[in-house]
């Protein structure tokens, strides 16, 4: 048994024993669970992939004369300005003004909110165009200027939903190519796509949300941020394996961090052909090894994690709930799965390569004493289920 305080003391003194979630299994196999739980202080988990529910709050400071922005665009990408005078929210999936979207199908979506966020973090000069109706205190009606992230008072990433605990494997049952947020899917089940770091993924190493909670300190694209709430669509009540590992999306995290501290390599605009724009992010989350049970959960392997294979041409959009089968991440990572007796090649949208890099970067930071852990101030809910939107007649 260890406490956060004891672990942080060891981190501070540079003596902390830190392993990544892909190293810990062999270590425990060799040492035994009890001895390993004594030795190991932290296991680092990570993921890198498109996370559409991401965005940032920006504050521009005041121009002279002042403006109360009522509509604004950064690099022609619309930002939300229904908040205070010079605050805006820039969302990852917002398209650029004039983007033909899917008018010429499949659309390319070369530049959207996610790309603006990438450029911002990369320190590029961006154009702001803002309009206002004008008030006595904020008379300016129109403004065009150029800025970098360093000119802003704040650039805070506020992501309502990141780090899905587990996710679907998408396949196409139809006779035509389909373009989805899970990538391009060729007809007749020619390929399948998944999107998870599997055994490295944060919430798969803490399946019951015992240690990751509101207030947990995280590594978000190189910046030190934290979990500010349960993510949207967080649903702890779900199909689980006998070991308690979710067999579907399940838990999610809402994350925040200062974008001025981020590294552009881990903040990347995404163009999903025929679907839209998004943002890929790198997230690392440390798991404090407080006891044997927590350590045991981090020893999960790809072969023990199952994901549902779902047809995205009909069954996903029509919400039929049909699952073709479950496959393990070990099978997915082999590059081939079998669906109803036929072999299907498998690709990924999330990068295990980058996730591994992040797990090691975070482990190094902790070992150097540069990243202390934070004890959660509240647990993520375990007992909520995903609700559906029921369309109703207007109540009389």
């Amino acid at each position: 048994m260890k406490t956060y305080e004891q672990i942080n003391d060891r981190i501070e003194s540079g003596r902390a024993v830190v392993l990544t979630a892909d190293e810990i299994m062999d270590y425990v196999d060799k040492k035994g669970l009890t001895a390993a739980a004594e030795d190991v202080d932290v296991v680092t988990t990570a993921t890198f992939g498109p996370m559409c529910s991401s965005g940032c709050v920006l504050n521009f400071g005041h121009s002279k004369p002042k403006i109360r922005i009522s509509e604004a665009w950064i690099e022609d990408v619309l930002v939300y300005s229904g908040i205070a005078a010079v605050d805006v929210y820039l969302g990852a999936t917002q398209l650029r003004h004039g983007d033909p979207a899917n008018m010429y199908h499949p659309g390319e979506f070369r530049y959207g909110g996610g790309h603006v966020i990438e450029d911002l973090v990369a320190g590029k000069t961006l154009q702001l165009f803002a309009l206002s109706y004008g008030t006595d205190c904020y008379p300016l009606r129109e403004l065009r200027t150029y800025f970098t992230i360093n000119d802003l008072n704040q650039a805070i990433m506020v992501n309502p939903r990141n780090c899905y605990q587990n996710y679907n494997v998408a396949i196409n049952d139809s006779d035509r190519t389909i373009y989805t947020y899970m990538g391009t899917l060729e007809p007749y089940r020619k390929n399948a796509n998944y999107c998870s770091a599997g055994q490295l993924s944060p919430l798969l190493n803490d399946p019951h949300y015992d240690v990751i909670g509101v207030g947990t300190k995280v590594w978000l694209a190189g910046a030190h941020g934290h979990v500010y709430a349960e993510g949207t669509q967080h649903a702890g009540v779900c199909e689980r394996t006998p070991d308690g590992v979710p067999m579907e999306g399940a838990g999610t995290l809402a994350l925040t961090a200062d974008m001025k501290q981020m590294c552009p390599e881990f903040v990347r605009g995404v163009s999903l052909r025929g679907y839209g724009a998004s943002l890929a992010l790198g997230v690392g989350i440390p798991i404090p090894i407080l006891n044997e049970e927590i350590l045991k959960r981090t020893c999960i392997r790809d072969r023990d994690i199952l994901a549902p294979v779902i047809d995205y041409s009909y069954h996903y959009p029509e919400k039929t709930g049909k699952i073709l089968r479950y496959v393990s991440y070990e099978q997915l990572r082999s590059g081939q799965i079998e669906v109803e007796g036929r072999k299907v090649v498998v690709g990924s949208l999330s990068s295990y390569h980058k996730a591994l890099e992040i797990a090691h970067l975070l482990a190094d930071e902790i070992k150097r004493g540069d990243f202390r852990l934070a004890e959660p101030i509240a647990h993520l809910p375990k007992d909520i289920q995903m609700k559906s939107l029921v369309t109703k007649e207007k109540p009389s």
Binding site: N191, R273, A280, V346, G347, S348, S351, Y352, K354, L356
Partner: protein, 139 residues
């Protein structure tokens, strides 16, 4: 008799050279076997051609001297498709769409994606599917 070798080339045609049957002469006069992967040679515009040529070293060299007389630039690296290492996140989405295995997983443990240019037939599938814009075309 010297052995045949295969070389992948990218030819750049300046605007004025688009109307000449250069490839015909490579076959007829220089004994080369040509396999054109991709071409964009239109009147009044610059043109590009990516192809394999197979023949003896000597014949290929003579043929290239002939091509150069038309003011056509030869890029011996044959790079019609460019993969930007910096933009690649190694997600592996392209791998299942690449028909020849030019884009492939180098290391099963780290899932690093590698690119063997020699295997690329310039089908451009990677350009269409890469979410990060890591693959682009020279033309």
């Amino acid at each position: 008799m010297s052995t045949a070798v295969t070389k992948k080339l990218m030819l750049f045609f300046p605007r004025c050279e688009c109307e000449k049957p250069i490839i015909y002469h490579l076959v007829k006069d220089h004994n080369l076997v040509v396999n054109v992967y991709r071409a964009k040679v239109t009147p009044e515009e610059e043109g590009y051609l990516v192809l394999d040529v197979t023949g003896t070293e000597e014949d290929i060299e003579k043929a290239m001297d002939f091509v150069k007389t038309f003011n056509v630039s030869i890029n011996p690296t044959g790079k019609g498709v460019i993969r930007d290492e910096e933009r690649c996140t190694h997600c592996g989405h392209c791998v299942t769409h690449c028909p020849t295995g030019a884009l492939h997983i180098v290391d099963e443990a780290t899932r690093e994606v590698g690119y063997s240019e020699a295997k690329c037939i310039e089908c451009l599938a990677c350009i269409r599917v890469c979410p990060y814009g890591a693959c682009t075309s020279a033309f």
